[in-house]
Symmetry: C2
Subunit: 708 residues, 2 copies
C-alpha cells in the first residue's frame, strides 16, 4: 500500500487542457502543491498539456507508473484498466461515475472491474470517487475544489470517506479553520480498496494520530475489529460519522453508493465496545480533529472548568455531566490556591467562576489555571471566556497560549464572541496554534469525547491484562466435540440437544435426561429428586404447551408416571408423524430472575450476543444490549449495566441482588461459543436463563439452537 499513498509517478488518463475540468484539475493541483514525482498526462488528442508531454495511451509512457488516475467516460474504464495492468501499473483511482450507483448497465461494468482487480491484483480505488491526497508529501491525486486552497495544512488526522462530495467539503472547511490532515481518501463505490484497509494503513502510519471515517456501510467486520484494537493499543482514537441511523437514512444510503448500511444497533454496540468515538455532525469531526492535533491524549474523565461567565460555566457543566464526564469538587489544596486569588471563593465549586475581575488581575487568572491543572482529580481543563476585548483580551490570549503550550494535561479553550471584535485576540491564539471554540457546548464535547476515550482506553488496557490468562485457557479447549455433536443434530435442535451443546462450553443448564419408558423416568427422578418437570423430547414438536406435552411441579413418583404417560400420549395425538425420542425429565429450578441471552449473525460483524430481561422488558420496552462476539468479563458487565432495567438485577424493591457475576460469566462463554461456532450456529435463543440470587449462579432453563 505504500506506493498507493506515495506514488513516485502518476498517469492522468483522459487528461484535459481545461484545468477547471475533472480530468484537468489533477494536473493543475499536482503542480501547484509541489508534487515531486513524475506526471504523465494520457490523451490521444494532445501532444502536450502544460509543460508535460502527453501520451496517446498508458502503454506509450516510457517510465514506470505507480498510479493511474482515470477520468474518462465510464464505458472505456475497463479497457484502460486492462491497459494499465499490461503496463504494470499497480494502483488506479477511478474518478468516473456511471457505475453501480447509476443503474443496471453500470452495475454490470462495475462487476467486471471488480473481477479484473481480483484477477490481476491491481489495487483499484473507486469508481465514483474523488481520489487521494497525502498532505505531508504534497501528493494531490484528486480533483476536489478544496485543493484550490494553497497551501494545504498538513497535520496528524487521517480521513477516509465513502462520500466524496461531503468528505472533501468537510476537509475544506477544516483546512480553512487550520485543522491539519495527513491523508484524505475518498473511496466511492469500493470495488476493491475499501475504507477499512485504508484506515488500517493510516493507523500504522507515524504521521497519523487520529483517524476519521465517514461511513455508510462496511464490507468486513474483521478488519474493523483489527483496526480498532490497534487504535486502542497505539492510543490513536477513531472518530466515525456513520450515517444511515434511521430507516429513511438507510434507504437513501442504499441508493447513494449502493452500500448496505447494516444494523445501526450493531454498529453502535461495536463502536461502544471498541472506544470508537461516534459523532453525528460534520462539525464534530472538525472540532475533535482540530483539538486533538494540539493536545496530549487525556488519561481520565475528571473535567475542570474555569470561566469568566457564570452562565457559560453552568452550560459547560451541564454538557459535561450529560456526556458522562466527572466534574469533581476541588480538593483542599486546590481550593486554598484559588482562595488566594478569589478571596470570597473558598468553596469547592467546579466550575470556577473568575468573573470579569480577570481583566484587573491577569496573574490571578493564571494562578487559578495552574492550580486546576495541578490537581490530581483534574484530567483536562476547559476555559470559557466571554467578551473581553482590547488589550485586556490580548493579554489574556497570550497567557492562554502560554499555558496551553506548556501544560502536560489537555486544555480546551472557548472564547464566546464574534470575530470582528476579537480578531486581535483570536489571531494570537491562532499564531500559537491554540485551537479555540465559540460554543462552550462544542468545546466541552470535543474535549469530553477524548477524555471518555482516554478513560475507556485505560480500562481497556487494564482489563486486557486481567483477561489474558482466562482467554488462553479458553482457547486451549477444543471445539471438536461440540462440532461433532452438532453434526449429528437436525437443523433445529431440541431443547435437550441445545442444552447439551451449551454444556460443552461450560454453560450451566438444568439437570435433565430423556426417558423412553416409565421405568427410566422413575430411575432419573431417583437421581434428580423432586420437584421435576416433564416435557416431550421431539425435534418435530415446537409448541409443547399447545401440544399438552409439558407438566410442571411434579412432586411424587405417582405424579411422575401419570405425567410421563400424558405427555407421551398427548404428543402422539397432537403430531402423529412426529419423531418422539421420549420425555425429558428435568429439575425444577429455584425461582430466579428471567433473562434472555441470544446470538444473532450480523452480515458485517458476524456473531452478536444480545442480552435483556425477560417479559415486557424485551417485548414492550425493547430494552436490550448487545456486543459483537467475543468479549471479556468487563465488557459483559458493561452490557448488563447498560439495560434500563438493570435495577431489577441489582436488587430493586427489596429483592436480593441477582448473581450478576455468574451472568457475566455466561455472557462471556456464550460470546466465545458464538465466535468458535460461527460457521455452524445460525441462531441461539436462551429463554429464559434463570439468574439466581448472588452466589447461587445461573441456569439455562430453555434454549433453542438453529444450525447454519
Amino acid at each position: 500500500m505504500d506506493k498507493f499513498f506515495n506514488p513516485r509517478s502518476i498517469a492522468i488518463v483522459g487528461a484535459s487542457k481545461d484545468f477547471t475540468s475533472i480530468s484537468g484539475k489533477p494536473i493543475k493541483y499536482l503542480l501547484e502543491h509541489g508534487y515531486a514525482g513524475k506526471i504523465y498526462p494520457v490523451n490521444p488528442k494532445y501532444q502536450e498539456i502544460g509543460n508535460f508531454k502527453c501520451y496517446p495511451g498508458v502503454a506509450e509512457i516510457p517510465g514506470e507508473v505507480d498510479m493511474a488516475l482515470i477520468a474518462i467516460n465510464y464505458k472505456r474504464v475497463l479497457q484502460v484498466l486492462t491497459d494499465c495492468h499490461a503496463k504494470g501499473v499497480k494502483h488506479a483511482a477511478i474518478f468516473s461515475s456511471g457505475f453501480a450507483e447509476a443503474g443496471e448497465e453500470g452495475k454490470k461494468l462495475q462487476q467486471e472491474i471488480t473481477a479484473l482487480a481480483k484477477e490481476t491484483g491491481m489495487r483499484v480505488l473507486g469508481p465514483n470517487c474523488q481520489g487521494m491526497v497525502n498532505l505531508p508529501n504534497k501528493i494531490t491525486a484528486g480533483f476536489s475544489a478544496s485543493l484550490e486552497n494553497k497551501p494545504l495544512v498538513p497535520g496528524s488526522t487521517g480521513f477516509v470517506t465513502q462520500s466524496g462530495a461531503l468528505g472533501y467539503s468537510i476537509f475544506n472547511m477544516a483546512q480553512e479553520l487550520g485543522v491539519g490532515f495527513s491523508y484524505i481518501v475518498s473511496t466511492g463505490n469500493e470495488v476493491d480498496l475499501h475504507s477499512l484497509e485504508l484506515m488500517e494503513y493510516m493507523m500504522e502510519d507515524d504521521s497519523t494520530n487520529l483517524l476519521v471515517a465517514y461511513l455508510e456501510g462496511i464490507k468486513d467486520g474483521d478488519t474493523f475489529k483489527r483496526v480498532s484494537r490497534r487504535g486502542l493499543e497505539l492510543g490513536k482514537p477513531i472518530v466515525a460519522l456513520k450515517v444511515g441511523r434511521t430507516d429513511v437514512g438507510q434507504k437513501a444510503a442504499s441508493s447513494h453508493t449502493a452500500s448496505l448500511t447494516g444494523s445501526d444497533d450493531v454498529f453502535d454496540a461495536f463502536f461502544r465496545q471498541n472506544g470508537i468515538i461516534r459523532v453525528d455532525d460534520i462539525e464534530d469531526i472538525i472540532d475533535i480533529a482540530g483539538l486533538f492535533n494540539n493536545i496530549p491524549l487525556p488519561e481520565g474523565k475528571g473535567l475542570g472548568i474555569v470561566t469568566t461567565s457564570g452562565g457559560a460555566g453552568i452550560l459547560a457543566a451541564d454538557t459535561a455531566v450529560a456526556m458522562g464526564l466527572a466534574v469533581p469538587e476541588l480538593d483542599e489544596a486546590t481550593r486554598a490556591k484559588i482562595g488566594t486569588v478569589i478571596p470570597d471563593y473558598g468553596s469547592a465549586m467546579n466550575p470556577v467562576d473568575v468573573t470579569a475581575q480577570v481583566i484587573n488581575d491577569p496573574k490571578g487568572f493564571m494562578k487559578v489555571l495552574d492550580a486546576m491543572l495541578d490537581s490530581d482529580n483534574i484530567d483536562g481543563l476547559v476555559v470559557v471566556i466571554t467578551m473581553i476585548a482590547g488589550t485586556a483580551g490580548e493579554r489574556l490570549a497570550r497567557d492562554i497560549t502560554d499555558i496551553s503550550q506548556r501544560a502536560q494535561k489537555p486544555i480546551a479553550i472557548c472564547w464566546t464572541a464574534g470575530d470582528r471584535l476579537m480578531d486581535n485576540c483570536f489571531a494570537i491564539l491562532r499564531k500559537g496554534e491554540v485551537p479555540y471554540f465559540k460554543s462552550p457546548v462544542r468545546c466541552v464535547k470535543a474535549l469530553g469525547v477524548l477524555m471518555n476515550y482516554g478513560y475507556f482506553r485505560g480500562r481497556w488496557q487494564q482489563r486486557d491484562e486481567v483477561e489474558a490468562g482466562v482467554s488462553a485457557s479458553a482457547k486451549t479447549r477444543s471445539a471438536e466435540p461440540a462440532r461433532e455433536f452438532l453434526s449429528r443434530c437436525d437443523h433445529r435442535l431440541t431443547e435437550h440437544q441445545g442444552k447439551q451443546l451449551l454444556a460443552q462450553f461450560d454453560i450451566p443448564v438444568t439437570q435433565e435426561q430423556v426417558a423412553r419408558t416409565e421405568a427410566e423416568a422413575l430411575e432419573i427422578a431417583g437421581r434428580l429428586g423432586f420437584p421435576l418437570a416433564v416435557k416431550v423430547d421431539s425435534p418435530d414438536i415446537m409448541h409443547k404447551t399447545e401440544a399438552g406435552a409439558l407438566r410442571l411441579f411434579i412432586n411424587s413418583n405417582e405424579e411422575l408416571v401419570q405425567a410421563f404417560n400424558e405427555v407421551m400420549e398427548n404428543s402422539r395425538k397432537y403430531a402423529p408423524d412426529a419423531r418422539i425420542n421420549g420425555a425429558l425429565v428435568q429439575e425444577m429450578v429455584e425461582k430466579g430472575t428471567e433473562v434472555i441471552v441470544g446470538i444473532n449473525n450480523d452480515p458485517q460483524f458476524g456473531p452478536v450476543v444480545v442480552f435483556g430481561l425477560g417479559g415486557i422488558f424485551v417485548e414492550v420496552l425493547k430494552d436490550i444490549s448487545m456486543r459483537v462476539a467475543p468479549f471479556n468479563h468487563a465488557q459483559a458487565m458493561d452490557m448488563i449495566k447498560e439495560i434500563k432495567g438493570y435495577g431489577v438485577l441489582a436488587g430493586a424493591r427489596g429483592q436480593a441482588p441477582a448473581d450478576i457475576e455468574a451472568l457475566a460469566d455466561v455472557l462471556v462463554k456464550v460470546s466465545r461459543m458464538a465466535e468458535t461456532m460461527k460457521d455452524e450456529i445460525k441462531e441461539l435463543d436462551i429463554n429464559p436463563l434463570l439468574v439466581l440470587p448472588q452466589g447461587k449462579g445461573v441456569k439455562v432453563a430453555d434454549a433453542l439452537v438453529i444450525k447454519k
Copy 2:
C-alpha cells in the same frame, strides 16, 4: 413598560470620562448608535463629559428622566435609587455588582433595594446586569463590548438573558452573522423586573416575531403560562436555553445569580406542553433566530430534502427522522416533474440527490426545487449543497436567492464548504438576506424545530377549540363542596376520604362503605355483592398489611364476618391508641393494568400531574411523564403515550388494549382538581388506578391525599 424600552431621556449615574470603563461606555454607545433622546451624565467630579453638561446629582438634572443607568460602587446604589425616586425617575438599571451573588452584605443591600422598588413602584433592572438595547430605536442603554460593532443589525428577535456576559456574547456572535434583534435585555439578579415580564412585553411588541430566553430559574410560573399561551396565539415561537439540567449545573447556578433552577423535569414538561423550543447550545439560538428572521412560520412537519451530495442527504434525513419530522415519500405528480430533470430518477425517494449535474443543468435544479415546494406533503425544504465553486456556484447562489425570496413555504439552505473558496457565492446569499448553514445537521435542526413548532401549534389551535365547551362545563362546577369536605378531614386523609374527595371531581373510585359493626358489613355486602375486600378505616394506621388489617377476595357472608372481626381486632392490637372508624367494605375490582397518578407541587409552576405504570416501571425505570396542571384531553393523551411502557397499555403480548380514553379523561380531571384545589392539596397519590380493558373505564383502587 413602554418607557422602559423607549426612554426619551437617560441619566448615567457615576458617568466617567473614560469611555472604556463601564460607566463611560454607555455615553459613548448612545452617541455612536444615534440615540435620539436626552443624555444626562451624573458625577459630582465633572462639569461636563464629552459635549454634555455633567450634573452633580440626579436632583440637579433640569428635565424629566425616563431611565437612570447606575454604574457606581454597590454601597451607594440604594442612596442613588432614593434620589432617583425623589426626582420622579420611573426606571433604573443597576450595572453594579456586589449584591446577592457576592455574599451576606450584598444580600442585605439587595433586599433593601427590593423593598424600595416595591414601596415606590420604581421599576428596577438588575443589579449585576448589563442593561437593555432597543435596536430599531437605537437605544443602547448598556455597556457590553458587543455595542462596539456598528451599525447594529435590527431584526425581529427579542432576547432576554439572565446571564449578562453570556447573553451579550451570544448577541455579539449573532449580530456579526447578520442575525437581527429587536431587543436584548440582561436582567442580572432580578430584584424587581424579571425575565418573564420583559418577555411578556416583547411578545405584544409588533417588531418582535420570536422570543429567546437564557434562563437559570424563574420566579413566576403563571406569567410564563400566559406568555406561552400568547406566543401560540400569535404564532411567535419562544426559544429557551434553560441551564441547570444536571446536579452540577444546578449547584453552579445557585452560586451565579443566586437563582433556584427548579426541577428540570418540570421545566421540560412545561416546555413540551406549551410548544416552547428548548435548546442546549448557544449556537442553536443563532441558527433558529437567523433562519426565522427570513422565513414564514412552517405549518407542518413534512420535510423535503434536495442535495448535491448523497452523503449529505443521508445525514440530513437521519437528523430529520431522529427529531420526529416526517421525510415523506414523494407523490406521483412530484415524482413525474422530477423525472423530467433526472431521467434515471423515477423513484419516490426523498431526499432527492441531484448530484453534481446541477452544474450542467441549473434550470433542472430549479425545477426540482419548485416541484418539491408544490407538493402538498412538503411543509418545508432543506437544500444541501457541497463544494460548487466559481461561476457555477455563483449562478446557484443567485437561483437559491431567487427561490428563497419568492417561496411561500420555508426553505433552509446548507452550503457545506469553507469561506475562502466560496465567499463569492456566500456574498450573493448574504446580499439577498438568505440565511445559510455550513452543517446539514444544524440546518435541519433549525428548520426542524420550527416545523415541529408549527405542527404543535396547529394541533394546539384545533384541540383548543374542541376543548372549549368541555372546559366551560367543568368550570361551572363549584369546588365549594370539596373544600367544605376537606376542611373536616385530618392533615392526612384516610383512603376512604381520599376517594370521596376524588369522587367530587367525577373521578371513578371503587364502591365502598365503612362498617362499624358486623351487621353493617353484611348490609353493605348485600348491596355491593361479592367478591369484596375489607380494610381498617383509621386516620392513624398507614400500613394496613403490616397491621394485619386487610383481607382480600372475600366471597361469602361467613368469610366477611370473620374478616371484619379479624381486621378490627388486629388493628386494635397493632395500634391501641389509634382512632378506628370501622372497616372499609370495598368491591374487588376486575383485574386491570395498574397505573399511578399523582400531584406534586412545584415551587415555580404550581401543581404538576405525574403519571406512570405501576411496579417496576416507576420504581426501577423511573418511567414517568408529567404536565403542569391544568391540561386538556389531547395533552393527557400525549402524556400517556410519552412513557416508555406505553405498549403495556396499548395491548402488548396479546393483552386486550386498556381503556386509554378513560385514563386520559381521569388525568384531565385530576389536573383540574389540582388547579382548583391548589391552595388546599399538598400531595395526591393514586396508587393504583386500575385501567380496565377498552370501553370498561378506570377505577381508583387506593389513594392518599395530604392537605396543605
